[in-house]
């Protein structure tokens, strides 16, 4: 990469931050320069953000139909998936899967609710709300 090839992008992904990248300057010397991002980086980064947003919206609709639990909504809100959530709370993933179902969620003990809430960085009583 050459310093002349840097794109001037108004990056939503980096939110005004500039990264440091190494590029060859006109004298053929490597130089650390600021980059405001470039298009593939921007697309890939924002796609992942959009993906979790999509999962969240979809999940909300399913909760309203009684098909899903608010725990799953919070999982997506925090950009976690089932295996990450299981690792973070320290439970077997089959148990977490069960807790993510409306039935399993309703049966959660106060102790487990507190554990989930702690990992999700919220209060246990807020686990039921999803907006």
């Amino acid at each position: 990469m050459r310093t002349t090839e840097l794109e001037t992008l108004d990056s939503t992904l980096l939110s005004g931050q500039r990264r440091v990248v190494y590029a060859l300057n006109e004298a053929g010397q490597y130089q650390a320069v600021h980059s405001a991002g470039w298009e593939p980086e921007e697309q890939a980064g924002l796609d992942e953000v959009a993906w979790f947003h999509h999962l969240q919206t979809e999940c909300k609709a399913r909760i309203q139909q009684g098909l899903d639990s608010p725990l799953r909504y919070h999982m997506y809100r925090l950009r976690l998936d089932e295996s990450l959530l299981a690792e973070a709370v320290g439970l077997w993933s089959w148990r977490v899967k069960r807790h993510l179902q409306p039935k399993g969620f309703a049966k959660l003990s106060p102790a487990l609710r507190a554990r989930y809430a702690q990992v999700l960085g919220m209060q246990a009583q807020d686990l039921d709300s999803y907006d």
């Binding site: 980059s35 470039w38 980086e41 320290g90």
Partner: protein, 345 residues
């Protein structure tokens, strides 16, 4: 109040190491730290899942860079992990009270100063904390231009998350000042280590074989996968290359910068030439990212065959490049002696 100079860098681990070293009296560049730590690599690990996607890494696994640099340069680097979060905090506070800047491993998601769009659960981010004011700390995170302040509870959470690559409160610091040393003799062995790992990996998912393996997996994409899944996989690969760690195939360029600096140190015209060659390979990696993004976004028709060809082309180029580089190390200082690289793994 300690006099710590915040520096921005390309990669969190190599620049954290460079900042700590500079503070302790040895201003070694980030590129030099990265190169001497044999930081460049490639791995495609289909069984390590991140958000259900395979891990693709363009550098040595997290933690390796600092560990290898310590060994290569015999640095008085102390590293500690904790089973209890309270002990981790007490130790951090004690070190800061001694005026010691401390490197920490943390989960990106829980660092509030990181822009919302970049906050994902990646547990092996490195940052430096150098001051404490009551319940908050001053953070020098080399990804950003400025320093930040972070509340104690937030930092504790980020340091003690559980899961893959869990930091367990890992902290590292240099226990005393270090005098600048002549690193010329270390360059050859460090290059050799990278070249060997790329060409003769112990596992087939690593090095140039890993690149071919990635190509093979891309070839297997077809209509059976839903377009959304395919797009996610392609963009995931771009993300691993461009968003996480450095931007723009950054590790190839960072290593090229190291080769150039080494060439000046060793007065080697051949090595300087290699820096330019690696730059061209890095540019091809950028092309690969563009191609993946275009196909994922439907701006170009999905062509698994083209993707595999590009990956194989990259693998062939890197094979040629590292073979030549390996041959070159024999002429560099320290190249002839048998080096105990095997023990370094």
């Amino acid at each position: 109040m300690i006099d710590f100079k915040h520096r921005q860098g390309s990669h969190c681990e190599s620049s954290a190491a460079a900042s700590l070293l500079a503070h302790h009296g040895w201003p070694l560049s980030e590129a030099m730290c990265f190169g001497l730590a044999a930081g460049l690599s490639f791995s495609y690990l289909p069984f390590v899942k991140i958000y259900g996607m395979p891990l693709v890494a363009y550098r040595a696994l997290p933690g390796r860079i600092i560990a290898r640099l310590q060994r290569r340069l015999r640095l008085p680097l102390q590293m500690q992990q904790f089973t209890s979060s309270v002990a981790g905090q007490v130790r951090l506070d004690a070190l800061l009270a001694q005026g010691q800047p401390v490197g920490l491993q943390a989960c990106i998601y829980w660092l509030p100063y990181i822009p919302e769009n970049l906050r994902f659960h990646f547990n092996a981010h490195n940052l430096i904390v150098y001051e404490q004011h009551g319940d908050s700390y001053t953070v020098s995170d080399s990804v950003f231009e400025e320093t930040h302040s972070i509340a104690r509870d937030d930092l504790q959470r980020a340091r003690f998350v559980r899961g893959k690559l869990a930091p367990k409160g890992r902290l590292f610091y240099l226990s005393r000042d270090v005098a600048a040393q002549d690193v010329c003799d270390q360059i050859g062995p460090a290059i050799k280590q990278v070249a060997k790992e790329m060409l003769q990996p112990v596992l087939p998912w690593i090095g140039v074989k890993g690149i071919r393996f990635l190509g093979k997996k891309l070839r297997e994409l077809d209509e059976k996968n839903s377009p959304r899944d395919t797009a996610r996989l392609l963009l995931h690969i771009v993300r691993m290359q461009e968003v996480i760690g450095t931007g723009g195939a950054g590790f190839r360029f960072l290593y090229a910068a190291f080769l150039q600096e080494s060439a000046q140190c060793l007065q080697s015209e051949l090595l300087a030439q290699k820096a330019i060659e690696l730059t061209e390979i890095g540019d091809d990696w950028r092309q690969f990212a563009s191609e993946l993004a275009r196909m994922a976004k439907g701006r170009a028709p999905l062509s698994p065959r083209t993707l595999q060809e590009t990956a194989n082309h990259l693998a062939a180029q890197e094979t040629r490049f590292f073979r030549a580089l390996l041959a070159l190390t024999a002429q560099l200082p320290g190249g002839q002696q048998q080096h105990a690289d095997a023990k370094d793994r």
